[in-house]
Structures are given as structure tokens and as C-alpha cells.
């Protein structure tokens, strides 16, 4: 009798840990009641903790907008911090629903690793940062230098390609995280640090005497950064893609966090109405209710508000919109129409 009780206890405990997932990530997220989002372990501007210990940042804002669109509340997100090496296994294993971690969209990741990219949230490129006292003006003069590089990233491969194609040699200094790179670079363990230009800006913003360091002019690769999901679930990928697009389109249509609820009652602009759900049935097509975009935009505002709040000119990172401005404002940010 005692052993039977024990046995049932053990069995219940075992089954409590195992969950059977429904087909379809959307249904699973709705059933679960929160979104599981993989983010960086810590990158200033993109993913960091405020003093209450809550995660916030540019990439985190996308997760919150997605959660708001699907579940109605931007706070219904559980974050999983991943390094450069654990991010893909974490997404592939089903542990998270979406990966929003300044990840570059490449062919091998799209095809070979079995993921679907939802679009580009930040057009970036790989660059170098070094001390002005080195006396070099261009990355091509870095023959024989030590370069801090994060392993398991596309930056590692681009670095090898750049130096090989320019016939110069370098000493790689492999590191795991951005904070180690920063420590090594400041201690002069390496002469230059290479990563995406946004990461360089983030790191440079934390230096005491940032003017002694310069970002080299060469951008040696295209790094379109964006969120991604697993292959095989088109409905979920569509939702993720259009939440991202809705933030960009909101900027085009001058919808901001402040005026979105007013505009949700109906405006003279049919495109605004279609997006915010007062006309048409966009929400139903996606499998969400009509106010999905209203909630997404109310989370942190439109794309420019998110950009300026976390990584814009008035933040320590001080990034200019540059390529990331709208297509009609000098950049290449272009979202398909809502129709």
C-alpha cells in the first residue's frame, strides 16, 4: 500500500514535467498564456536588465510587441538568455517560440539549420573598433594584429574571409560574450574588436574615454539582423513577420504609441483603418483578433519610437537611423503593404 502511494506520487511528478504540445505554435502560445522568447545574455541597447531586474531593449521590445499582438499583454513573455552558441539549439529544440537576438539572416541558417527569418529589424554590417593610438586609418592596414572575435558567429567567418581576401594575417582571440570582449579589448589583449556595427556602438558607449577609440570605416559584410522562428509553422511565421511589419508601417503612417488608441476608433485613411482593424479582416486572416496591431503598437510605439528609445541618438549608443530609416526618408526600411 505504501509503495503504491509512492509509485503514484512519482508517476504524477514525472508527468507533470512533460507536456504534450498541440500542433501549431500559435495554439500552444495561446494555451500556455505566455510567449517564450530567446534573447541575448546582455548587449547594451538590445537586451539588458533595468535596475528592477526586468529585461528590456531593442530586441526585447519586439518580443513584447509580439506578445501584445497575440496574447493582449506585452508583459506575458518569458525570456531565455542565450549565448551565440546556444541560441540555435534553444530555438530548434522547441524551448522558445521566437529568437530575437541580433541574429544575421544568412543562407545556411535559413536552409541548413532549418529556420525561417521573419524579416529585418536592423540592417547592420560588420566593422572594427580600435584605438586611435594604433595609428592606422583603415582595416586593411591591420596585418599581424590581434582581433577579439566571438566564436560561433557569422562575424568569425567574415573576419577570416576579409583577411584572406586582402592577403593579410591576424591573430584571432576567441571570446564567448560581449562583456569578455570588452574586458579583453580594454586590457589590450587584442588590438581591435570586430562585431556588428551596432554592437561596436554599444560597446563604445560603455567606455570611459570613448573619443580615444575609433570605428574603422570598412564595413566588411552585410548583417541583416532580425527575429526568427522554426521552419514548418507558416501561420506562426506569418504572425511574427506581420507584427514586425506593422511596427514599420506604423511609422510610415504616423501612428505612435500616443495616438494609436485614438486612431483605432477610425480615421480617414483606409490603410490605417485596415491595419488597426476598423476595416477589413486582416486580423482574421492571421488568426488573431482585429486589434492585434493596436496592441502591438501600444507596447512600445512604432519602429522609430523603439529605435530612438533604446539605440537612438539620445541614448549612450548614439546610433543614427542611417540605412535603417524608411525608404522614403533615405534608408532601406520597406514593409509590404497591408492589404
Amino acid at each position: 500500500m505504501k509503495y503504491k502511494l509512492l509509485g503514484t506520487l512519482v508517476a504524477t511528478a514525472a508527468f507533470a514535467c512533460v507536456s504534450i504540445a498541440n500542433a501549431g505554435t500559435l495554439n500552444e502560445v495561446l494555451k500556455r498564456g505566455h510567449l517564450k522568447c530567446a534573447i541575448n545574455t546582455g548587449l547594451p541597447g538590445f537586451a539588458y536588465t533595468d535596475d528592477k531586474g526586468n529585461w528590456t531593449g531593442f530586441d526585447v521590445a519586439y518580443c513584447r510587441a509580439l506578445a501584445a499582438a497575440v496574447l493582449g499583454d506585452p508583459n506575458k513573455v518569458k525570456y531565455k538568455n542565450t549565448t551565440g552558441k546556444t541560441r540555435f539549439p534553444t530555438l530548434a529544440s522547441g524551448e522558445v517560440d521566437v529568437l530575437s537576438r541580433n541574429t544575421t539572416w544568412t543562407l545556411s541558417r535559413d536552409v541548413d539549420l532549418g529556420f525561417t527569418f521573419l524579416g529585418v529589424s536592423y540592417y547592420d554590417g560588420q566593422g572594427f573598433i580600435g584605438r586611435k593610438s594604433l595609428g592606422v586609418k583603415s582595416a586593411k592596414e591591420l596585418d599581424g594584429a590581434s582581433v577579439c572575435i566571438q566564436t560561433g558567429t557569422t562575424t568569425e567567418l567574415n573576419l577570416a574571409d576579409f583577411f584572406r581576401s586582402n592577403n593579410i594575417k591576424y591573430e584571432p582571440v576567441p571570446i564567448e560574450t560581449n562583456s569578455e570582449a570588452r574586458a579583453g579589448y580594454l586590457a589590450e589583449r587584442c588590438d581591435v574588436y570586430t562585431t556588428d556595427a551596432s554592437g561596436l556602438a554599444a560597446t563604445k558607449s560603455t567606455f570611459k574615454d570613448a573619443s580615444k577609440h575609433m570605428v574603422f570605416p570598412e564595413i566588411i559584410s552585410k548583417e541583416p539582423l532580425g527575429p526568427l522562428v522554426r521552419q514548418g509553422d507558416d501561420q506562426w511565421a506569418d504572425i511574427g513577420r506581420w507584427v514586425l511589419n506593422s511596427l514599420i508601417i506604423a511609422e510610415e503612417l504616423n501612428i505612435t504609441k500616443a495616438n494609436v488608441s485614438a486612431k483605432a476608433n477610425g480615421t480617414k485613411n483606409p490603410e490605417v483603418n485596415r491595419l488597426l482593424g476598423t476595416e477589413g479582416s486582416i486580423g482574421k486572416m492571421l488568426g488573431l483578433d482585429p486589434k492585434w496591431a493596436v496592441r502591438a503598437i501600444s507596447a512600445h510605439g512604432n519602429y522609430s519610437e523603439i529605435f530612438e528609445k533604446f539605440i537612438g541618438k539620445n541614448t549612450p549608443l548614439g546610433l543614427a537611423r542611417g540605412q535603417n530609416a524608411l525608404y522614403n526618408k533615405g534608408g532601406i526600411l520597406y514593409a509590404p503593404p497591408v492589404r
Partner: protein, 396 residues
């Protein structure tokens, strides 16, 4: 067993005998266990195949022939970003073996000294060693590896390197030594070195036999050192100095040329050595304490000095107790070297992790890891078991 009057019933084979008869019960149980294991494995394999198919991932080991496209800084053999994944994995494996072997040497030496010092009657020394051992043993090794790396980062920067004679440089990018360039005659020098070792082993054996017969000893240590060190140097001079040493030169950013030993390697080696040495010192101490004090007293009564007693009487007996736990410490050191990934030393786990991420072949890569470490563990255990057999107490 039949006794007078009792009959042993030969009831024939009943089905219930499968459960009640001990012979059959054992067989049935083993059969059921193996069957259950096969079903379990088949379940896992079929799930894996299906999951891989859904995710669209390939399987198979052919990825090791793909181009790696990344560089490795600390390597023993030739490698470039155009080499294959397979070669990268081999480079990683060699790095692991290098740090494991050097770590085993260093930790044994430090551990033996620490163990003996802890038993010294100098109060300060024994207490200091105790503090060292207790502190190191109770802090996780990962913390210690990171700690050493942070310390080494505080070495002077490359432009202010400490240098010895302008040929050996020390800075926070590593230790740079002159690298040897082997020319034609260098093979003779190598041969002379090997000859010196072989000769000294022969002379040692001959002199021990002579000692058993006549009681006279030869200073074997000095003779061996003379043979091993002096002979190759003589050949080196006679052959016209065939080994050149190329000192590192100051380049624009870095020192060029020469042999570079990265601070990650040094940090890992120091951390692993001091950590394992703390455990080895405890093993050595308990080994020495296990030799009955009668042995030491008898040695003193015979007039033997302290260090001869330690070397010839106590340690050989203590070794029998020390060797078995020593094996498991060596294995632990080899396995702890896998933590190199935390500071960026590219051993097999670190490189394998990169390959895993770039190629997506997780299952195959992890199987390669495990096979590698299992082989290393088995080889180390086999060697230590052979040595243990050699020095075991031969009892009648």
C-alpha cells in the same frame, strides 16, 4: 539432497519454475532487461529520425569534410580557414591533449611537494599549505579558471612587454619564445638525445645490479643528467649548430615569429594544475601517513638521513596507496580541461561547439566529443593500472 526415507520429487518442469527456480529466474530477468533496453533504444532512434526529418536537418558524418571557414589561434599542426571541419576537430583534440598532459605533470609535482610540505614540522609552512589546499578544494574550478584568466589579463600590455634578453617576451597576449628552426643536422642531435636516455637507463640497471653484489653505488642522477644533457649539446656543436632559434621581432601591432603561448592556455594550465594538486596533496599526505611509523624509526636507527628515508623507504611504500586515487584525479583533470570553452581556449569542446553551430550537426558532433573523452579516459586508466600492477605488493 536425498536423505534416508525422503523422496526428492522430480516434478518435471512447471511454468511457475520460471519464477521460483533461481536458475531460470536469473535468465528470464536478464532476457527481459535486454529486451526492454532494445525497445527503449529503438524508441529513441525512431523519435530522433523523425524529429530530424521534420526539422529538415541532415544527418551523417560527411560534414567533417566541409570547409571550416574560421581560424584557430593556438594550434600544434598546420591549419587555416580553408581547412576542413575534421582538421579543426583534430586541432582541438591535440590542444586538449597538450593541456591535459602538461597539467598532469605540473599537478603531480606541485601535489607531491604540497603533500610532503604539509607534513613538515615547520608551523608556518604546514599551515600555509593547509590554507591553500582548503581554499582551492572548496571553490569551483570554473571560478578558478576565470580568476587566473583575469589575473593574466593584468600583465603588461604588448608595447610594454617584459623581456629577457630581447628573445623571450611576457605580456598579456601570452609568452613568446624563440622558435626553433630545424636544419639538416638536427636529426643527429635528436638521435643523440634519445641515445642519452637509453644509455642512462642501461647504466642505471647495471649499477643497481652492481650495488646488490658489491654494495657500492654510483651517482646515477648526475651520470644520467650528464648523458641526457651533455651528449646532445656535444653533437650539436660538432654538427655545426644545425638548430637555429628565431627570436620574435616587434611588429607593428604584435610580436611576430617565435613560439606563442596564449594566456588562455596558461590560465587553464595553472588553474587545472593548482586545483588538481590540492586534491593530490591530500592523497599523498594520507599515503605517507599510512606507512607505519615503525619504518621511519627503523630507518633512523640505521642512521639514514631524513631525505634518503623519504625517498627510499617511505615514498615507495606510500606509492602503493597513492596510485589508485591518483588515477581518478588525472581523469578529473582531463575532463575539467573541457571548461576551456569558458575563457576561449580552443580545445575540442570549444571548437566542436563552433562546428556544431555552423553546421547544425549536433548529434554527430557530441558523439565525437564523447568518443574522444572516453578514449582518453580509457587510455589513462589503462596506463595507470599497468603501473599499479607493477608496484603492487606481491604477496604469497
Amino acid at each position: 539432497m536425498a536423505r534416508n526415507g525422503e523422496q526428492t520429487q522430480n516434478t518435471g518442469f512447471k511454468l511457475v519454475n520460471l519464477w521460483t527456480d533461481e536458475r531460470y529466474r536469473g535468465l528470464i530477468f536478464q532476457f527481459a532487461l535486454v529486451l526492454a533496453l532494445f525497445i527503449f533504444i529503438a524508441f529513441i532512434v525512431s523519435n530522433t529520425i523523425q524529429n530530424l526529418k521534420t526539422a529538415g536537418l541532415a544527418s551523417g558524418y560527411s560534414f567533417i569534410f566541409d570547409t571550416a571557414s574560421f581560424d584557430i589561434n593556438q594550434r600544434l599542426i598546420e591549419y587555416s580557414s580553408t581547412s576542413t571541419y575534421g582538421r579543426a576537430i583534430i586541432v582541438g583534440g591535440l590542444n586538449t591533449i597538450v593541456v591535459a598532459v602538461l597539467g598532469i605533470f605540473a599537478s603531480t609535482i606541485i601535489g607531491f611537494f604540497a603533500g610532503i610540505l604539509r607534513l613538515s614540522n615547520n608551523f608556518l609552512i604546514s599551515r600555509l599549505v593547509t590554507v591553500y589546499v582548503e581554499f582551492i578544494r572548496n571553490v569551483p574550478v570554473l571560478l578558478q579558471i576565470i580568476f587566473w584568466w583575469v589575473i593574466l589579463l593584468a600583465l603588461p600590455k604588448v608595447r610594454q612587454s617584459l623581456s629577457i634578453g630581447d628573445s623571450i617576451f611576457l605580456n598579456n597576449r601570452g609568452v613568446r619564445l624563440p622558435s626553433p628552426i630545424f636544419e639538416d643536422g638536427s636529426l643527429f642531435v635528436l638521435a643523440a638525445f634519445v641515445l642519452g636516455i637509453v644509455l642512462s637507463l642501461f647504466i642505471r640497471r647495471w649499477s643497481l645490479k652492481r650495488q646488490e653484489v658489491t654494495g657500492q653505488t654510483l651517482p646515477i642522477g648526475i651520470i644520467s643528467i650528464a648523458l641526457i644533457a651533455v651528449l646532445p649539446v656535444l653533437v650539436y656543436i660538432i654538427a655545426g649548430q644545425p638548430i637555429e632559434f628565431q627570436a620574435p621581432l616587434r611588429g607593428k601591432f604584435n610580436l611576430r615569429g617565435g613560439l606563442n603561448i596564449t594566456p588562455e592556455f596558461v590560465a587553464l594550465w595553472l588553474a587545472l594544475s593548482t586545483y588538481t594538486a590540492a586534491f593530490i596533496s591530500e592523497i599523498v599526505r594520507s599515503g605517507i601517513l599510512s606507512v607505519s611509523s615503525g619504518q621511519k624509526e627503523a630507518a633512523r636507527a640505521l642512521g639514514l638521513k631524513q631525505n634518503i628515508t623519504m625517498r627510499k623507504i617511505v615514498l615507495p611504500q606510500a606509492l602503493r596507496v597513492i596510485i589508485p586515487p591518483l588515477t581518478s584525479q588525472y581523469l578529473n583533470l582531463t575532463k575539467n580541461s573541457s571548461l576551456a570553452v569558458a575563457i576561449g581556449y580552443q580545445d575540442i569542446v570549444s571548437i566542436g561547439d563552433t562546428v556544431l553551430n555552423q553546421s547544425g550537426q549536433a548529434l554527430e558532433m557530441i558523439s565525437i566529443f564523447m568518443a574522444f573523452y572516453l578514449t582518453l579516459s580509457l587510455a589513462t586508466s589503462a596506463f595507470m593500472n599497468w603501473y599499479n600492477e607493477k608496484i603492487k605488493l606481491v604477496e604469497r
